[in-house]
């Protein structure tokens, strides 16, 4: 970096040393301490929160059991609305996952060093979100015990190859690849930190567990070299995935014949939306974590502001996509297309459409103002509304397109049942539970990476650069 920085002083502007701590050790202490200590001495508020989210996770289990026992009929899905909250939730969670990969892979390749404060938790969030997402394609099938037929694994009861023309099969590959790569990427990044925890461990259990997980990390130069290399390669592999996963998810809709689905704009539009919602979700989680765990020195206002800028950009891209869709629907001269879009904005689901527009297009515009962009309460509220808006976006795309397609005779209306609602709430519970466990037991800041942007003495970073080199 130093060479580049010297030649292009402007880079200093985007990549200043951000975080403050006394020294490396102090930083290690601060992050590691969160994961250490007697489990039973964890503050009560943590346990209360975990109990709540855990109960909601149990609710999810109950809902899924109920669903499998009775059939999809316990949801509100119908004909014509074959997919409703199930696939809405799937796309929503997959979208949330995008921020993690984007932060860890793309920002890494672009040398956006500020990512180091947030990448670990963003990656964890990705994994948890993809887990939540994965529940829906599995359980939305009428016969989930046969869902393994979607995988190209040898089975004697089917004796037939999958249909590779079906975007659902593409989904299976896209999502499973995404999850695998994200998991590897996250774990690879964790290895040096796990070794740190191992070295600091005081109980035998921790020593063994972290010892196994840290894969014999000793911090040797060879280790560091291999580590950096694999991290770079994984980043390179992940980068196209950021674009491909949501593009392929969007193909579920784009390759169909249904007006409102059958559009070429979907891949970029979905990716922008995914990043938008992912960043908003990272924002929500980090604002809470920052406050609860006193991480103000590591997750600084600059981080938050940077993320808000990305939210502003992607939110505007999404808004532009909405406008383009309407223009194309009108420009195409296709009756069915025109009706599909008019129906979105003015039909029985107008409230969903306008909720989406308000949350996704209008509210991020507040971030044009620095004062609002750097206000914690404002950004917290807006991160929540963005996620509401993005959930509605998927709902609008899926349900409003399906409920009135070509033949007016088959038009219908979808209403969620209590099972729909509880299942969705259940996945939020699962997501939060996993995140709480992660925050308690694993370093939620990349200790080894964040040290690269530590500013503990004015002007001293130049030496650090040299040292690092």
């Amino acid at each position: 970096m130093s060479e580049a920085v010297r030649q292009h002083p402007a880079l200093m502007e985007v990549n200043p040393p951000l975080i403050r701590a006394k020294d490396y050790h102090d930083l290690t202490e601060q992050i590691s301490e969160i994961t250490e200590g007697d489990v039973f001495k964890t503050p009560l508020k943590y346990w209360i929160t975990l109990a709540i989210t855990g109960s909601i996770t149990v609710l999810l289990g109950g809902m899924l059991t109920f669903l499998v026992w009775n059939g999809i009929g316990v949801w509100g899905n119908n004909r014509p609305v074959g997919w409703a909250w199930d696939i809405t939730n799937f796309v929503f969670w997959i979208g949330i996952g995008h921020a993690g990969t984007l932060i860890s892979a793309i920002l890494f390749l672009f040398r956006q060093k500020w990512r180091t404060s947030i990448n670990r938790s963003a990656e964890a969030m990705t994994l948890f979100a993809v887990m939540c997402a994965g529940i829906f394609p599995l359980f939305h099938t009428g016969r989930p015990w046969r869902a393994y037929w979607l995988f190209p694994i040898p089975n004697t009861d089917l004796n037939i190859w999958q249909n590779f023309r079906s975007p659902l099969i593409w989904d299976v590959f896209a999502v499973s690849t995404y999850f695998t790569v994200s998991l590897l990427f996250w774990f690879t990044g964790l290895v040096p930190d796990l070794a740190t925890l191992r070295d600091r461990a005081v109980t035998r259990t921790k020593q063994v567990v972290f010892g196994l997980l840290s894969l014999g990390w000793r911090g040797s130069a060879r280790h560091w070299r291999n580590y950096e290399m694999s991290y770079l390669i994984l980043a390179a592999i992940s980068t196209p995935l950021v674009l491909s996963v949501h593009s392929i998810v969007s193909f579920d809709f784009a390759t169909s014949v249904i007006p409102g689905w059958h559009t070429t704009i979907f891949p970029p539009y979905f990716v922008a939306g995914a990043i938008f919602s992912g960043f908003a979700c990272v924002m929500t989680l980090l604002i809470i974590a920052r406050w609860a765990l006193n991480l103000n020195n590591i997750i600084t206002m600059k981080h938050l502001e940077n993320m808000n800028k990305i939210i502003l950009v992607t939110g505007s891209v999404v808004g532009y996509a909405y406008a383009t869709e309407f223009f194309i629907a009108w420009y195409s001269g296709n009756t069915y297309e025109r009706y599909a879009f008019l129906n979105r904005a003015l039909g029985p689901y107008w409230w969903a459409y306008w909720t989406m527009v308000t949350c996704n297009v209008i509210s991020p515009q507040f971030f044009w103002f620095k004062k609002l962009r750097t206000s914690i309460p404002v950004m917290f509220v807006l991160s929540i509304t963005t996620n509401i808006g993005m959930w509605f976006e998927r709902f609008v795309i899926i349900v409003t397109s399906l409920h009135r397609d070509f033949l007016p005779s088959s038009w219908g209306y979808f209403k969620p049942t209590w099972v729909d609602i509880c299942t969705f709430i259940g996945t939020i519970g699962l997501f939060l539970t996993l995140f709480l466990l992660f925050a308690r037991f694993l370093p939620m800041i990349a200790i080894s990476e964040v040290k690269g942007v530590l500013s503990y003495e004015k002007g001293a970073f130049k030496d650090q650069e040299v040292v690092a080199k």
Partner: protein
């Protein structure tokens, strides 16, 4: 179960499943006992070889009710030769029988599998069927297996034995019959009418009253007025060119047989250029919007009570009756214009004109119709005297009977089917009168309102379980042969009457056979067998039409005596229901779930009113109103019906039953509460008030929506899914239909498959012929084991009908035109559903069928989402699940209800489990059956017309054609060659195999705007 016994007694190697079984330990027996409690008692009896065989037969009976349930009397399959009545397991056999409803009689052909009836079709040899059957006739088979049917003789509500009744019947104090009354439904059975004669001879002071809530009594009364004697009118719709339906839904429920539709559609078949000039023209005058109105070129809406004046004006217009008061109209009034044009058209048509009046209209309108036909010289109607003498018939006869019952003059009343406690006019207070009768005997299929009110209740055998006969109104008779012994020990009307009057013969079979063989000449047994085989008694005497002239003076006098209607007074009129008819099918799930052809309502009825009346009354769709007149009051939910007459409410009968099985419980509103003898079919002066309560209708199409919202530019006009043109337009520019949609050059990214070898199945549906009668829906339900999902699931949009009838309104909300469009799977060559299925559960056959492999389906529902026609249906829940309570069958078998209801399934079609997608298959099982038969016959080719899909087979209008489109000479290919053939949504490049022939209408140029 009995397997254990077999292994112990049979010779040869013994197979055993466990050591315990081999040892036959008491523990194992106990285990089996608990595992199969249903057959436990049989198990514990001796285990001789005979017992084993008996048990085997019984348990096979469980699986399919095999030969052991076939009646001991000889029945003859129609599908085989006269003498080859051999039974091959697994092979389906067809038997003829006959069904009558409200005086309409249709010959039927019933498919049986291993002794159990599975599907009802029309008998092609019966002139009133010609292979077609109505929705209700076909749906009746489900009632056979209804576990809620009456199964017990009841004495004052307590379970009793048939023998108890026999003993009680022999002790009835009948004397000379002064206190004996029979109350039957419309008699169509020659043998029952012979028994009636016998009864009245034996008990000369007894009376036999015929009453049915829906009947042809006013038609008969009309002919009494016009001709001085009761006569049936036989309209020849096939010969008429100008047809006027005066409040006559002859294409729908005002004719309970497919016959009228068959005749009418003959005047609508367009196969060539010449046919265009031969097309008939239909004028409808009505209050409700019926499918007859929907098929009419010109429709005039008015209250039911106003039709009388219209008929009078029409009669005056054509000069049929002298000295009539003509209602003054302004010249530009729609009614006046309509009337003037109609008068001209009728006169022009002359011999080919036909005016008909509906069963709701009073006698005078029927008489006026006769007079008009006479005046214009119509040859399209014939009149015959009833073969079965009509005395004490109709609502007036019932009124007299109730009077006698109240006066204590009746000591014994025998109610032969029907449910008068529920269905008799409210002011007669039938149940109070019934309580005054010392011996009341009720024969009925259900433990219904009358069953619990009568002293004795006898379960009635289903018409597929009992011997009988029925003759059409011309007198052509057919034998009603049973295909199965009464499942729950039912008896027929014949048997009850025979028992009560102490007849020698008390078995249905003997009575019917004796009645007919006495009339036969030559080899009586041979003629009898032929009658059973053919489904028509060829020797039965048909009545030849009489030359009669209406007495116009009497008609004019009667008209003058009639009260005048006031269009301003709120009118309520009653209609039979497309689902429950008069209430008798209330517990029939298939029929309850078959949408009303116009309103698309299922599982309920509603107070239908015009949008204008709805607004004037300040009501909203779904509001529950109270409708009252004098002391009679009911509550009903309002539903808006575009095109309905103003200031009028129509409501269907047959809902709101109190004592009914589980299916019919709490379904709809009971209109009988306000149906009185003075407002029998319609009445004015009803008061309506909002109750503030709300009701949710279950309809299979978003009601109202397509009506006026949808007729705005964006949905209706620019979506050419149904296409119609007038004959003139089409003659001038045949391309007009094709040009209604723009189809750009299309290209698929996948290589296209050429379907040009072998058989390529395709379907063409003629919207001109289709009347929207629903017969195809029930045929499909029956053939393809389509489950009933119930009201709640329909409201959630999960009905399962593979074939649906879409109804589209267009134009003004008050004067809309309607097109009905049957929608099976389009079997697209480029099927969008196939592309998206991840597990290849739906793929294309080389013969162009879009096949569905249920076992492979995981249920992602992606195919349904991507189907532009939304013809795919997902099993959201286990819709085949039924009660598991055990029920006693007559043969001493206990069966779970679930097993009884599953007896109706067609074994050639798999029953789909929950979580899988299903859809129309073009009846692939029928294709395969014909293919196999062709191979067995050593043929290479399947002949055109040999395969008939279930919907096509039953269509009374012959609107559906199916066959090989690779054969240019096949009927379907020829139909598809017509210029009005179009592929719906062709612009999506899906290449549907099902195409439509546009609806052609033949309007009167004078009435065209």
């Amino acid at each position: 179960m009995s397997l254990i016994n077999i292994t112990q007694t049979g010779s040869g190697p013994k197979y055993w499943r466990s050591v315990n079984q081999l040892a036959d330990t008491p523990e194992f027996r106990e285990f089996v006992y608990r595992e199969f409690p249903v057959h436990a008692s049989e198990m514990l009896e001796g285990n001789s070889r005979r017992t084993v065989l008996k048990l085997m037969a019984a348990s096979l009976g469980l699986a399919g009710l095999t030969a052991c349930r076939r009646p001991v009397e000889h029945i003859l399959p129609n599908s085989q030769g006269m003498d080859a009545a051999e039974y091959a397991p697994g092979e389906s056999l067809f038997y003829t029988t006959v069904h009558s409803l409200a005086g309409h009689v249709t010959g039927l052909l019933v498919e049986t599998h291993d002794g159990r009836p599975t599907k009802i079709e029309g008998n092609p040899d019966h002139p009133h069927s010609l292979g077609a059957a109505t929705a209700i006739e076909q749906g009746a088979i489900l009632s056979l297996y209804d576990p809620d049917r009456s199964m017990q003789v009841l004495q004052a509500g307590n379970e009793a034995k048939w023998e108890d009744f026999g003993a009680a019947a022999s002790k009835l104090p009948l004397g000379d019959g002064a206190g004996l009354r029979f109350l039957s439904e419309t008699l169509t059975s020659p043998s029952l009418s012979a028994l009636r004669a016998e009864a009245l001879r034996k008990y000369p002071k007894a009376k036999w009253v015929e009453y049915e809530p829906v009947s042809r009594e006013f038609e008969l009364a009309g002919s009494v007025l016009a001709f001085g004697q009761p006569m049936y009118a036989h309209p020849k719709f096939d010969q008429a060119k100008v047809i006027v339906a005066l409040d006559n839904d002859f294409l729908g429920l005002d004719s309970a047989s497919p016959f009228m539709t068959t005749l009418f559609s003959k005047g609508r078949h367009v196969e060539s250029e010449e046919d265009l000039d031969k097309m008939n023209r239909l004028y409808a005058v009505e209050s409700q919007f019926s499918i007859t109105g929907a098929n009419a070129e010109h429709r005039l809406r008015m209250q039911v009570s106003e039709v009388k004046q219209f008929a009078s004006d029409l009669a005056a217009g054509v000069g049929a009756v002298a000295g009539l008061n003509v209602v003054n109209n302004q010249a530009n009034d729609k009614r006046a214009k309509f009337l003037a044009a109609l008068v001209k058209d009728l006169k022009r048509a002359g011999a080919q004109a036909l005016v008909t009046a509906g069963p709701r209209q009073p006698a005078v309108v029927h008489a006026l119709a006769a007079a008009i036909n006479q005046a214009v010289g119509s040859t399209c109607v014939a009149y015959t005297k009833p073969l079965i003498e009509k005395t004490n018939n109709g609502v007036d006869a019932l009124k007299t009977l109730v009077g006698e019952m109240n006066a204590g003059q009746v000591s014994t009343v025998v109610i032969l089917s029907g449910n008068p406690v529920y269905s008799a006019p409210a002011d007669l207070q039938f149940s109070a009168a019934l309580a005054k009768v010392q011996n009341s005997i009720h024969l009925g299929a259900e433990k219904d309102e009358t069953a619990v009110a009568a002293k004795w209740h006898i379960p009635e055998a289903h018409f597929l379980e009992a011997w009988g006969d029925a003759a059409t109104s011309e007198g052509l008779a057919a034998i009603q042969q049973p295909m199965i012994e009464p499942l729950f020990g039912g008896k027929s009307a014949l048997e009850i009457v025979a028992l009560v009057i102490g007849n020698k013969e008390t078995k249905g079979h003997d009575i019917v056979k004796k009645y007919w063989t006495d009339q036969f000449t030559g080899n009586k047994e041979q003629v009898w067998r032929k009658a059973l085989h053919d489904g028509v008694v060829s020797s039965s005497k048909t009545v030849s039409p009489d030359k009669v002239t209406p007495d116009t003076k009497k008609i004019a006098a009667a008209l003058a005596a009639e009260p005048r209607a006031a269009a301003s007074a709120m009118e309520v009129s009653f209609y039979p229901s497309a689902s429950s008819w008069d209430g008798r099918y209330a517990n029939n799930g298939w029929l309850q779930e078959t949408p009303d052809p116009m309103t698309k309502l299922v599982w309920g009825n509603a107070a239908m009113m015009s949008p204008g009346t709805l607004r004037a009354q300040n009501l909203a769709d779904g509001d529950i109103i109270s409708i009252s007149r004098g002391a009679y009051k009911m509550e009903a939910a309002v539903m808006v019906q575009p095109g309905h007459a103003d200031n009028a409410i129509s409501i269907t009968l047959g809902y709101g039953r109190q004592r009914v099985g589980r299916v019919g419980k709490d379904v709809g509103f009971n209109a009988n509460l306000i149906r009185t003898t003075d407002a029998y079919w319609s009445g004015q002066g009803f008061a309506i008030t909002a109750t503030g309560k709300q009701h949710r209708h279950a309809s299979t199409q978003e009601h109202g929506l397509i009506g006026y919202e949808g007729s705005t530019a964006d949905t209706q006009n620019s979506r050419p899914v149904v296409r119609e043109a007038t004959v003139e337009e089409y003659k001038k520019e045949p391309k007009i239909i094709e040009e209604m949609a723009e189809v750009p050059p299309l290209e698929s990214i996948y290589p296209s498959v050429k379907y040009d070898k072998g058989y390529q199945w395709g379907m063409a549906i003629d919207l001109t012929s289709c009347t929207g009668c629903n017969a195809c829906i029930v045929a499909c339900t029956s053939e393809n084991n389509i489950p009933v999902v119930g009201k709640d699931q329909v409201m959630r949009g999960r009905e399962m009908h593979w074939l649906r009838l879409d109804r589209y309104y267009s134009g003004d909300e008050n004067e809309p035109t309607v097109v009905e469009q049957p929608l099976p799977c389009m079997q697209c060559e480029n099927a969008p559903c196939e592309n998206v299925c991840p597990v290849q559960a739906t793929t294309h056959s080389p013969e162009g069928l879009n096949d569905m492999a249920y076992n492979r389906c995981v249920g992602t529902r992606y195919c349904s989402n991507n189907c532009p026609y939304k013809v795919r249906h997902f099993n959201f829940l286990n819709f085949h699940k039924r009660g598991s309570e055990a029920v006693d069958l007559t043969v001493g078998i206990r069966m779970a209800e679930e097993e009884i209801t599953s007896l109706v399934y067609n074994p050639d079609v798999s029953v789909r489990m929950r979580g899988v997608m299903e859809k129309c298959t073009y009846c692939v099982q029928r294709i395969e059956k014909v293919r196999i038969n062709a191979k067995v016959d050593g043929r290479r080719d399947i002949k055109d017309g040999e395969i008939k899909t279930a919907c096509q087979q039953t269509c009374p209008a012959n609107a559906i054609e199916f066959g090989n489109i690779n054969d240019p000479n096949s009927k379907v290919s020829k139909m598809k060659k017509q210029e009005r053939n179009y592929a719906m949504l062709a612009e999506l490049d899906v290449k549907p195999r099902t195409t439509y022939l546009a609806k052609l209408r033949n309007p009167n140029p004078e009435l065209q705007a």
